[in-house]
Amino acid sequence: MRELRIAAVGDVHLDESLRGRYRERLDDIEEHADVLLLAGDLTRHGTLEEARVVADEFRDLPIPVVAVLGNHDHHSDLPAEIAFMLSEAGITVLHDDATVLDIDGVRLGVVGGKGFGGGYAGKCASDFGEPEIKAFVGHTKRIAERWRVALKELQADRRVVLSHYSPVKDTLHGEPLEIYPFLGSYLLAEAVDAEGADLIVHGHAHAGTEKGVTPGGIRVRNVALPVLGRAYGVYCL
């Protein structure tokens, strides 16, 4: 089975002032990668004008593009409209579900979605108390369960999870400890560890670090643009 080259980046935060600037870095992407994953926060304010820039920067690439949205992409309460606009540009947008790509006969399964926060094992919010806290934790629990089901049902040769929020603390190193609960949740990693995957990529933590691993031994890469400092990371499976 051939090696798959996974390109990934998140937190590109595009708007009209950046039109064309990212695209010029993608010109020869097919020389470097077989697929491009976008790990959310593609816009700054989650407006349709910004989403149009995202669609134009990533449309008609010679390799498939799979994306999830981030918290910024939700800010204007238009996530469905943004996802539709991206899908019109040929980008597959995951919302706690899966897609399978055939790359020269190798099936690459990508499961993912925005993810959410709550914190990490032993130091996290619980589904207890006021309805506001229950809603916060419940949102993450439902997402993690949908990922677990999607991974369980996934029929693929290689399995990658694409998230915006971080499933582990390793890749947050450099961020203030106090904001960890807003950067991700261990429930996401627990779900992926339960069903197995070859790689998890996420964004969101601009001041974090690139490399980490789940408690179950799955490699995690923080591909937030400020962390990478390059147009995209490439990971070979």
Binding site: S17, H45, A207, A231
Partner: protein, 81 residues
């Protein structure tokens, strides 16, 4: 006099909540009469806008804009997992 911690917190909130910026990744420190901004953004225009919003949220302080503009490099070397 308002405690510097509250001033810094107000500026940080303004950067996150002001529709001109919605910027979550900037570190804000107040030292005496000076307001320090540190972090990375993708363009000069944005760097200047963040300083404007921060200055409005903390009138009377001198804004020290130490934000750097990030140059996006090519993809670089691949990693084999």
């Amino acid at each position: 006099m308002e405690a510097p911690q509250y001033v810094a917190a107000r500026v940080q909130r303004a950067l996150a909540e002001d529709e001109r910026t919605h910027e979550l990744g900037i570190r804000v420190d107040v030292r005496g009469e000076q307001l320090f901004l540190r972090g990375q953004v993708t363009g000069d225009e944005r760097r200047a806008l963040i300083a404007d919003v921060a200055g409005e949220a903390a009138p009377g302080l001198t804004v020290r804009n130490e934000i750097t503009v990030m140059e996006v490099r090519g993809p670089g070397e691949e990693e084999k997992l």
